[in-house]
């Protein structure tokens, strides 16, 4: 594609307003700009912005109905239709399924020009407009982002119903829409600055939504952690952005590709800066996509409402890092270190997160660690230049992970916030839970990589095969393969414990909060504000301030007149969304068998800047032939045998989970696995404590920084200010003069001011005349 772009680029000339020295880039811009057809994409940010504003107004005007939800679902659905129409309209013009990149101009944003004909050399400009770059990679991401956002919005309309009577409902949907707006800016940006806007925007929405239950200290802490961890990543991205501008003179994608391409021949050695840019991008990507060492925020992010976890922290936002690397694969290919960093970072994260996930009891956290782990797969895939596998996995993962989260959310919703897998069992057999159970099974099969009938199997398989086909990355292949087994195990550990086995449940701690099962509801006040009182129906209610009304207002509480808890099976919206997602994971399978390049996603990727073939060629050239060459899996062609290997590994993992967690289990809390724990000793406990990484960060970074800050504060008070005070005492006369002036009488001050001015003028005169 790069070649194509550059080729197209030679026949037109830019308007001359922008950077000199980038003629090719200019031409590329005009060709892309001259191609209409993507203008409809502008409707996506517009619609989501509209929805966000309307939801904000709903909050301001105290709308206490489901209106914000329907507004959001409507606008999100319409944006999905816009994306779909744009894609269908353009599909196929560039290879099967691919489209020619084009730009939809919005408005001038951060554009700045300088140096026109002065002493400062030629005219230069910094062009960062609100314009959308639409190519097949964009379409892929936008399709699942808007599609899933619509579905999850629908799910949330029911899930968040407990907050309908508060401003929380509108607030939730406003932030939800704002998130989709930011995500669409991120994915469709035609320049790095707009991408950065989306990048930080999704961070903000993530912050606001993790902290949705803002009265819970843990939610507030998690939100803060997420934002700051992301900011560390953002620092990398912003430095990469500036470095890109300083080196290439532009931050616009279509101008960058040919400039990057000019290094791809390998004729000139790649400058250090160009090698550094992808490394900095990687910092950003690892922050946003929760990879080592910046992954610790994602599991904590589960403090947010479950639809948020599903959409933002599983399906879409966390894949932004993958998108960034995929989008900039050409520049990654030029760097010696960037690709190994990405590959190893991803593989190690995949393994680490899987080991932690195996030892957790909170099903939502297990899903969070599985997300971290699966994102590790995607990065590993990109690191071995397998962008097709990575993108395919992003695509399938988005659906099945959203499905898993939503199913877990339904359980949480129905059992008053219960998430402990030791306290739930046999849920599938309970009345009204069949759809949740079945769709959960579908999700688990996908995550576990169950052979043939799951989309997750096919996409994971591509990554594994790609890893094994690079000899220097063979270790990564093995790590990923082992992780695949672990994944199958912990996934089905959840399924066998919660959905199968004897029927049993303990309601969660939201029972006495009486708020609807929307996590730790608004009425769940931590600091002693919750007073348990005998409410009209004898159930416990939070009688705190204005929020108490909510508990009354919501009539399908979990406890009947005798205080006996009844689980609350999901309603139509949740069931519908779960069913659609489950079907979608099946529908995705045929997509792997159409098209020219490993399926539909492969076609899309090949038609975009993350074309693996040109990236591999560039890498080869940049490394002077030291690039990856055909590897093997135990002497066999990995692409031919990996299906069988990963199928066997997945089934073994599921089998172990069956033996340890289902077979012969009679109580919810114990299983055969418990008998094994003593044998593992401290390892199991360390895994349960997430290998103490949070504590380690606390000791290594937070505490020293905190101490340093206190020291600075002391220095400021004693030393810096102390010196000032010392000098301040010297001219005591002035001090006492000023002190006397505080009479508070207006004309007094006027007089003094006049005399003061006279003195000043005198000083001037003296200074001048001497």
């Amino acid at each position: 594609m790069l070649g194509t772009l550059a080729q197209h680029g030679t026949d037109t000339v830019g308007d001359g307003a922008a950077a000199a020295g980038a003629h090719v880039a200019h031409a590329a811009e005009s060709i892309a700009a001259a191609t209409p057809g993507a203008e409809l994409m502008l409707a996506v940010p517009a619609l989501t912005l509209l929805a966000a504003i309307l939801c904000g107004l709903c909050a301001a005007f105290r709308v206490r109905s489901k209106l914000p939800a329907w507004l959001s679902v409507g606008c999100l659905g319409a944006s999905f239709v816009c994306v779909l129409l744009t894609y269908l309209n353009l599909a196929g013009e560039h290879g099967a399924g691919g489209i020619v990149p084009r730009i939809a101009h919005g408005f001038e944003w951060l554009t700045f020009q300088w140096g026109r004909g002065g002493t400062g050399g030629e005219g230069r400009s910094f062009v960062a407009d609100f314009s959308l770059y639409v190519d097949s990679l964009t379409c892929l991401w936008m399709l699942f982002v808007t599609g899933l956002a619509t579905l999850i919005g629908l799910y949330a309309s029911e899930y968040m119903v407990g907050d309908v009577k508060t401003a929380g409902y509108s607030r939730f949907f406003a932030a939800f829409n704002l998130f989709v707006l930011s995500m669409s800016c991120l994915v469709m940006a035609d320049n790095l600055v707009l991408l950065y806007l989306g990048w930080e925007g999704v961070g903000l929405c993530s912050y606001l939504l993790i902290g949705y239950f803002y009265k819970k200290p843990s939610a507030v802490a998690a939100a803060k952690k997420a934002f700051i961890m992301n900011r560390i990543g953002d620092l990398g991205l912003s430095l990469g952005l500036m470095l890109t501008f300083v080196h290439f003179g532009t931050v616009q994608f279509n101008e960058l590709w040919p400039l990057i391409q000019s290094y791809a021949s390998g004729a000139t050695p790649t400058p250090f800066i160009v090698q550094l840019i992808p490394v900095l991008f990687t910092v950003g990507a690892f922050g946003k996509s929760a990879q080592i060492p910046l992954y610790v925020w994602l599991p904590d992010a589960m403090e947010g409402p479950t639809p948020v976890s599903a959409l933002i922290h599983a399906a879409t936002m966390v894949t932004a890092g993958v998108y960034l690397v995929a989008r900039f694969l050409p520049i990654y290919a030029l760097s010696e270190w960037a690709l190994p960093i990405v590959a190893w970072g991803g593989a190690l994260t995949a393994l680490l997160a899987a080991t932690i996930g195996m030892a957790q009891f909170d099903i939502k956290r297990i899903m969070a660690y599985s997300t971290v782990s699966q994102l590790g797969y995607m990065f590993a895939g990109l690191g071995v230049l397998g962008s097709v596998g990575a993108a395919s996995h992003v695509f399938t993962h988005a659906f099945f992970k959203a499905l898993l989260f939503l199913a877990c959310g339904a359980v949480m919703h129905g059992f008053a916030g219960q998430l402990d897998l030791r306290k739930l069992s046999g849920v599938q057999k309970m009345p009204g839970w069949r759809i949740v159970g079945l769709t959960m099974l579908v999700g688990c099969l996908n995550l576990a990589g169950f052979p043939l009938i799951t989309a997750g199997f096919w996409s994971k398989d591509m990554i594994l095969a790609d890893a094994f086909s690079h000899p220097q990355f063979r270790a990564i292949g093995w790590i990923l393969l082992i992780t695949a087994g672990l994944t199958a195990y912990y996934t089905f550990r959840v399924y066998f414990r919660v959905f199968m086995g004897p029927k049993y449940f303990e309601p969660g701690d939201e029972l006495h909060a009486a708020a609807h099962g929307d996590d730790h509801g608004e009425a769940h006040d931590a600091a002693g504000h919750v007073t348990h009182s005998a409410a009209p129906h004898g159930q416990h209610m939070a009688a705190e301030g204005a929020l108490a009304a909510k508990g009354h207002a919501h009539d399908h509480g979990h406890a009947d007149a005798h205080g006996v808890f009844h689980p609350h099976p999901p309603g139509w919206a949740i069931n519908l969304v779960l069913t659609i997602l489950a079907l979608a994971t099946f529908a995705a399978i045929p997509l792997f068998f159409i098209g020219d390049h490993h399926g539909w996603v492969g076609d899309l990727v090949h038609g975009s800047s993350s074309n693996p073939a040109s990236a591999a060629a560039a890498h080869e050239a940049a490394m002077h032939g030291h690039g990856p060459h055909g590897g093997s899996f135990l002497g066999m062609d990995p692409h031919a045998v990996m299906y069988y290997v990963s199928a066997v590994v997945g089934i073994i993992g599921i089998g172990i989970a069956f033996v340890l967690h289902l077979a012969g289990r009679t109580t919810p809390a114990t299983s055969r696995a418990d008998a094994l724990l003593p044998a593992l000793g401290p390892i199991a406990r360390a895994a349960q404590h997430k290998w103490y990484v949070d504590e380690l960060y606390g000791v290594l970074f937070v505490t020293p920084l905190r101490v340093l800050s206190h020291i600075f504060h002391l220095i400021d008070k004693l030393l810096v200010d102390g010196l000032v005070n010392l000098f301040g005492w010297l001219p005591r006369g002035i001090g006492s003069f000023v002190r006397r002036s505080q009479s508070g009488v207006l004309h007094d001050y006027g007089l003094r001011m006049a005399s003061g001015l006279a003195i000043i003028l005198l000083i001037v005169l003296l200074g001048v005349l001497r």
């Binding site: 554009t111 140096g115 806007l197 903000l204 009265k215 200290p217 934002f227 620092l235 430095l239 905190r706």
Partner: protein, 595 residues
């Protein structure tokens, strides 16, 4: 004439307030600050924003002291016009925001607020150095009174420190200006304090050594005002003790006098020295960004936290200025506006909280979102603007400042004498400063997490309205006119009304800053061109002053010190043995006092 009106209207109304009954003071002050807004809007609509010339909009100049060439000349270029806009906008916001907070000595309060308004407008409009200085100093008196009469417990000490500290700085600055005028007068035989004349005189007639001295004197005056590390300690104190309106004006406008001065005086008048000492100033700014940012992180007083954050933020602003690139200067100028908007709003919000709870301690407050959702929404919004979230105003200026710093080397590489040397700053400065982005998020979210979110914590006895209400104005002898008890839990329409314009501007400048950027393209470009023109490159960064062109200066006293080794040394021209001239001598001695 319009600019003079912008200054005259508040002054006239100040007199009116002085003559009126206390009950009318509020109304008069409101009118006296709203009228300039209307006038400004009319003026801004007709303003040739895109002409890109530095000097236009001349009003008739009146000779004040013909023998000295001191003239009452006012005019506004694009940059002044923007800053006047900020000043004029914050005026009514401060007045209306004080309706309930200030309950007694209304005449004094509103009268001086109006005088302050006039003085600040005058600083930005003045085109004569003496006039500038007069206005510059004139801002001190009202501010002193506002703090010392209407502040909190420690107000007298804070006011005194504020006054003395900044006064000392500015006297030294005046000495520098006077020296330039003297040089100019001896050359041309005619006294003039006109800015253009001074700029020409300074950048062309002064020797490198003299320029370094003048640079030092001017920088000292402005650095105290900004304030740059380590001259900042008056600021947290003054902010914490000042009444809300005082803090808003202090953060919104008064600090900008320092950066505006650097832009209008230091850079054009001492280009050579600025270029040479830019790394030092940058190091000091960066230390300020990180040091003050970390100090913010351990504050328990919300207002003090925001006060320290100003030190941190303005570090970016100064960094952008001394990148001496078009984009950096633009970022810096925008930063002045943006910081005024978002930090001003934060101080307003803290004031609103204080009026209700009579405490600013994070230990006594928490989870206020539950009690004041509207307040919380604004708080989070302005915090995000302050953090530099893209899409809001703070981001644009921060990015531009950093970008300017980043590519300073590239831009200056074209300069004939600096080939191989690069620009004053470069990627490393930007990279280290950018860490401030993380620190900024750390302390601001720490504050939000404590005060806005979390479990609701209110001070003991709050809500009973029975006892323990210390008056927010802190006026010792005042009758307990308990208007605060009538404030509802959440914001009133009046309070929302003063926050909304600020929020709207934050969004506008974040989403569509292009008009402002375009307006700044011309002036900053001209500035950079003149900087390039007036730097011979003979004053080179690794110190010695006044040396002949490279490679190695033979003489000159100050030991060759690397800027990175002496970051805490706030003043570049560190005490050479002999002062070059009378102005310099004054500078030297007073400068020590300032240390």
């Amino acid at each position: 004439m319009n600019l003079a009106l912008l200054i005259a209207i508040p002054l006239v109304f100040a007199f009116a307030v002085a003559l009126s009954r206390p009950a009318q003071a509020r109304l008069l002050a409101t009118i006296g600050t709203l009228l300039p807004v209307a006038l400004y809007i009319v003026q801004a609509l007709g303003f040739p924003w895109l002409r890109g010339e530095t000097d236009f909009y001349n009003t008739d100049a009146i000779d004040l002291f013909p023998s000295l060439g001191v003239r009452l000349s006012l005019n506004a270029d694009t940059v002044s016009m923007l800053l006047i806009g900020l000043t004029v906008l914050l005026g009514p916001i401060c007045v209306i925001g004080s309706y309930t907070a200030v309950q007694d000595r209304l005449k004094t309060y509103y009268g001086w607020l109006l005088v302050l308004q006039a003085a600040m407008t005058g600083v930005f409009a003045a085109r004569d150095a003496v006039l500038f200085f007069v206005f510059f100093e004139f801002t001190l008196v009202p501010m002193y009174i506002l703090i010392s009469l209407y502040g909190s417990t420690n107000r007298k000490a804070a006011a005194t420190k504020f006054f003395l500290y900044t006064f000392t700085g500015s006297v030294i600055m005046l000495a520098g200006l006077a020296y330039i005028a003297w040089v100019s007068a001896t050359r041309t035989g005619e006294w003039s304090f006109d800015l253009t004349t001074l700029t020409v005189a300074s950048s062309e007639y002064l020797s490198n050594r003299e320029q370094a001295w003048v640079f030092g004197a001017l920088m000292l005056g402005f650095a105290v005002k900004v304030p740059l590390f380590p001259l900042h300690t008056w600021l947290p104190l003054a902010h914490t003790e000042a009444p809300t309106a005082g803090s808003v004006i202090l953060a919104g406008v008064l600090l900008k006098l320092g950066t505006y001065g650097m832009y209008k005086f230091v850079l054009p008048m001492c280009p050579e020295a600025a270029l040479a000492y830019a790394p030092l100033v940058a190091v000091v700014s960066i230390i300020g960004i990180l040091y003050a940012g970390l100090i913010c992180w351990v504050q328990t007083d919300v207002k003090k936290l925001v006060a320290y954050s100003s030190v941190s933020h303005l570090g970016f602003c100064v960094l952008g200025l001394f990148s001496m690139t078009s984009i950096g200067l633009t970022g810096s100028l925008l930063y002045m506006i943006n910081h005024g908007l978002s930090t001003g709003a934060l101080f307003l919000l803290i004031g609103m909280m204080y009026e209700r709870y009579h405490t600013r301690s994070m230990k006594e407050l928490g989870g206020l979102a539950a009690r004041m959702p509207v307040w919380a929404t604004f708080m989070v919004f302005f915090v995000m603007s302050s953090v530099g979230l893209p899409g809001l105003n703070g981001f644009v200026s921060e990015l531009y400042c950093l970008l300017g710093t980043f590519q300073a080397g590239d831009e200056w590489a074209h300069h004939p004498t600096r080939a191989g040397l690069g620009g004053p700053l470069g990627p490393w400065f930007a990279a280290v400063a950018a860490v401030g982005m993380i620190v900024g998020a750390m302390y601001l979210l720490y504050m939000v997490g404590k005060v806005v979110w979390g479990p609701l914590v209110e001070p003991h006895g709050h809500g009973a309205h029975a006892h323990g209400h210390r008056h927010s104005a802190g006026a010792p002898a005042s009758a307990p006119s308990d208007a605060h008890a009538h404030l509802p839990a959440d914001l009133t329409p009046r309070e929302i009304g003063i926050l909304l314009p600020l929020a709207a501007l934050c969004i506008f400048l974040g989403v569509y800053p292009r008009p402002v950027l375009k307006a700044l393209e011309g002036p900053t470009q001209q500035m950079v061109e003149s900087l390039h023109m007036h730097t011979r490159g003979s004053l080179q960064t690794p110190w010695p002053v006044g040396a002949p062109p490279p490679p190695r200066p033979a003489h000159t006293a100050p030991a060759a010190t690397d800027p990175h080794d002496v970051p805490a040394n706030q003043h570049p021209a560190d005490e050479p043995p002999a002062a070059p001239a009378s102005g310099g001598a004054g500078a030297g001695s007073a400068q020590e006092a300032g240390h």
